[in-house]
Symmetry: D3
Subunit: 242 residues, 6 copies
């Protein structure tokens, strides 16, 4: 089974970290292919960048010329999943949904700890659209930008642990979701520090994608995610960012 794990930003090192993290939990026989968009921002921290990433992810997946069995969109709280679902016949799993969905099996309420405060409403809105909001205790920002997670891992860890602790003690979260693809790999350390299960959306998404494939399930095509109707389109595919 081959699963495409698509980064939402154009930072190649993040793609590699995500792919490594994904491969580490993949079942024997699952090949993880990390993809980096051809265009867009080097980190996504708002709606403009996220909308650009939505198209860039679809563009990158459509440009992939080998067969694949599932796609993971590896950005937390980003736009675009619904478009991919229309374009593809294989399952699409967003890490935002994967983490929340997994969290709900483990505790009565979960919180998300993310990067900047400005991304909190995006995550909240995506969780609402996905129908996974009801048991979300809070979405908290660590105050660190996406790229600071890469460059200052220890400071990032401290900031995330601090917000995770507040989520547990004040917001009554019983599970923590790591709210950024770039946090992949921090889960074990945070779990030890907070004492609650910590979920990295990337690894959760890998097991969900594998499960869907194994169960022979894919996106329903009867309505919302039906294949786009044939029509005249200018500038797509293949003219962005290349």
């Amino acid at each position: 089974m081959r699963i495409l794990v698509v980064n939402v930003n154009t930072t190649e090192s993040i793609t590699q970290a995500i792919a490594r993290s994904a491969q580490a939990v993949a079942a024997p026989g699952t090949e993880i292919v990390g993809l980096t968009p051809y265009f867009g921002a080097d980190s996504i921290e708002g709606n403009f960048e996220s909308y650009l990433a939505a198209i860039a992810v679809m563009d990158r997946v459509m440009a992939y010329d080998q067969p694949f069995d599932a796609v993971i969109q590896a950005g937390y709280g980003e736009h675009g999943r619904e478009g991919l679902q229309e374009l593809l016949n294989v399952p699409v799993v967003d890490i935002t949904d994967a983490a929340a969905s997994t969290a709900m099996f483990l505790g009565h309420a979960y919180s998300v700890v993310t990067t900047l405060d400005r991304t909190v409403p995006l995550i909240e809105d995506r969780l609402k659209l996905s129908g996974l909001w009801d048991r979300c205790a809070s979405v908290r920002a660590s105050g660190l930008a996406v790229l600071e997670l890469e460059h200052e891992p220890q400071r990032a860890l401290e900031a995330i642990v601090h917000q995770a602790e507040l989520a547990v003690t004040q917001d009554k979260a019983e599970v923590i979701c790591l709210g950024c693809g770039g946090m992949a790999g921090l889960d074990e350390q945070i779990r030890q520090r907070t004492g609650v299960p910590v979920i990295d959306g990337v690894t959760a998404a890998v097991t969900i994608a594998e499960s869907l494939v194994r169960l022979g399930l894919s996106t329903s095509k009867v309505r919302t995610y039906a294949t786009p109707r044939p029509k005249k389109i200018i500038g797509w595919p293949g003219r962005f960012g290349r």
Copy 2:
């Protein structure tokens, strides 16, 4: 005052119809400028096309090189408004929100009549994100594609009137919102046939945009719609579709 009214699809005749409709209700002294995206689909009827339109609308607005006072995104239920709000300092009004917001001043519940069934969930989701869902009685599809509205106006009218009547009698709507930018101009006929107020989002948006400008109000920049942080972006602006 100059207001940009941006079509979400690439069909120039629709842009012109929208702009005419907008200009017809504009206050003396308001100049309406209709813009057509440089890329994207000739009609938007799903998430993939809508995400492409989101970027195409931002791209087109950013390419406009004259001063302007407000922007109207003239697509019903489309993605993208939040991105424009980040990029601009002038007010942005989406016609989905404009119609619903106006409807709520006129009746206890409103319905939207749109084109294809597959676009219904997009509209519902946008209304939920905008906080305007509570008093929505229903979103109903006429079953006609966007371009059929142009080519078969009489059949479109009948189909829309039929759904509007069902919305009033079965769903208890007291106001009807026309759920497609391309329906601009049908409101009066439908009002006569159904006996309830009928709202065209484009004209509603013009008065709201004018009002915001007159009141000296614009998008809050403290959090969700703050200006994007400076970062390295590939392929933006200026490399799409041209």
Copy 3:
């Protein structure tokens, strides 16, 4: 176009302040007529007074013997709008709704800053009934009574600014609505102090009423706001308070 702006309390100086504020933003050609009820309390800070005001406002409007194009009910969180909508064929705009509806075009969430804590539930309930509650971050009380706003403007300003700041920093509001007709005129100062858009319901309502008139829209008469059925009524019109 003539718009009646009806104060909900019997304090004539507040009526005049509201009318001045309304006239200041009105379009050329719009005449604002300020009306003071013939009976009721000199300030409204609870349900009993608000119910009395509901009838007093209807009574005052029905006693107005000139033609008019729209009515603004200039009390924040008060009962009565639905009754006016039944009695009249022209649009009715409540400033509570006008402010919230306008705020939602400017930010992801808004807060209301009002007078006394006891009026908070009234405002919350009215926003819920109007379907405008979803994106309300909080309703906060400054602790000052309505008439103190008149007599101690500086102290009022400080108290309102303080609550507005808490709304922004703690409740994540991105827009502030001034939750009292008597606060008309404070918006600019508060905006400068908080850095977020501040909305005065009276001025917002003027532009909305003008827009509805210009678009040829008025209250739907098919159900909730249908004209009252003819029946035997004792004590109405014309026997209250005169």
Copy 4:
């Protein structure tokens, strides 16, 4: 114990029917006093009339010069309860709330069957404000006006039974609330015809009012229903309708 049961309309025969119905279920030692407002409409079927009734009920209760232990507002879906709660120190029970609250002890979902379609939104809104909406399966209109219930009891019965049956079979209601004070006395017949428990709000309210008195409980005065602050009021009390 003396309980005032206040009709919301000015039709004395309805007051008497309500009072008889109330007395029939009252505990030994409970005296029911039926009161008819001094002003207002002879039947309440909309917001204007209901707002007038809100004041008329408060006026009538304040004019009552004997001691009493509780007040029942005997109109379904009417405005005004909150005002009475501010003015009085004894418990106030609205029959809308009494019926819904009782229904929730008896079945998983309840429906209300009322008079005219135009009153449905009023009832829905009152149930929402009272926090009793969650398990309401539907509010259905029999299509008969309040006074037709008096003049054509058999036809009224049939129309109500028909809607009750639809509520049970289609809306999955397990309990029926009679949605009009004037339906008092029909409950037993409707129960026999539909096979589900049928609740008359007046009798339910009597037992609730008695219970509150017996438990020594009354309206909380710390916030929403605090006694009105002393202020200058024109036209109250005593100048309405007399």
Copy 5:
């Protein structure tokens, strides 16, 4: 009239305290019978124990061999009410529902003060299932275990008063519900200390059960609470805990 008041735990002294408290408010002619389950935990503070209690309460009621008119399940936030409703033809009142339902007649919002933090989600969930959640301001834990209420009444009183005060000042509760059957009898002291109405679910349930019986109302048997279908059951009735 005979009402069974069933304790959910196996501590006989708590059963007696509850029964005394119930008898004290019962109407003349009402006989209260306190029942203790034959099996289960000596205090219920979590789901496992509560599920065991659910069965133990049904078992105990079915083993009662005299006629009775209503049953009160005297545990706060416990599972099981729906099962009793299926098995019996007389009304069943859970004290969680009884307290919340009563509170809503007295204030705009209520809070529950219970024992341990771990029981808070159980109570919240039960209130949500019962449709009584909308006006719940908060559920707060005093931090004391059920049996500590018995053994350290003064310390318990202080802890409960403290949380009740926070509920009123911070969460804006206007009424307090005592969230544990074992708190019966503390209501008057807490009312004096907090100034808001305090509701003990047991006494509230007695008046509600009496009211339902007097009104001739009982559980609807058309759907959710229909009598169980005859089927082969192992180990029931009569083999548990004896």
Copy 6:
């Protein structure tokens, strides 16, 4: 890895069918152990039976004397999961949640098709408690009892397909969840007949349980599902039904 799949009823043939179905999708190296409760009803179709099953499932799992890695509760809409979560340190997956959670990755809305109408509210309530209700289009009953599924498979198939079709066409479901453990194995046929993805909760639960184990995740023990406190318990473990 060993996963216990616990039937909720006492019909051994259903346990075997469920276990076969589970084993068929299990990963290499996963051993499925089917368990049948020692007591309870031979099919579960209501609250009384479901509460009994809740305890019976916990009892059966606690009596299992070999190591295991996860537990699947194989009843649709049943009580009890929370109790198991308290008692165990390994993950617990309820098939109700597993099916709904999986469905949400595949379509915008899902419906559940279950057995008898009386079980619909149980399923709705469980989905609400699990936070998976938001995107549930409907829960529909086929009208067949659990054991009829076994004895009349073809008639059952037709009835389920009919309701599934109504769910898709009328309720706008895009995915169907089979709402009964005994429906395991029908998914493929129903998918062919309806054209939408069909999810059997048992197989979905197997992949979710395996995923949680593989990710090293288990139930959070900090609050709701903390291990029960040590206390005196009568009749547990080991005295039920044996």
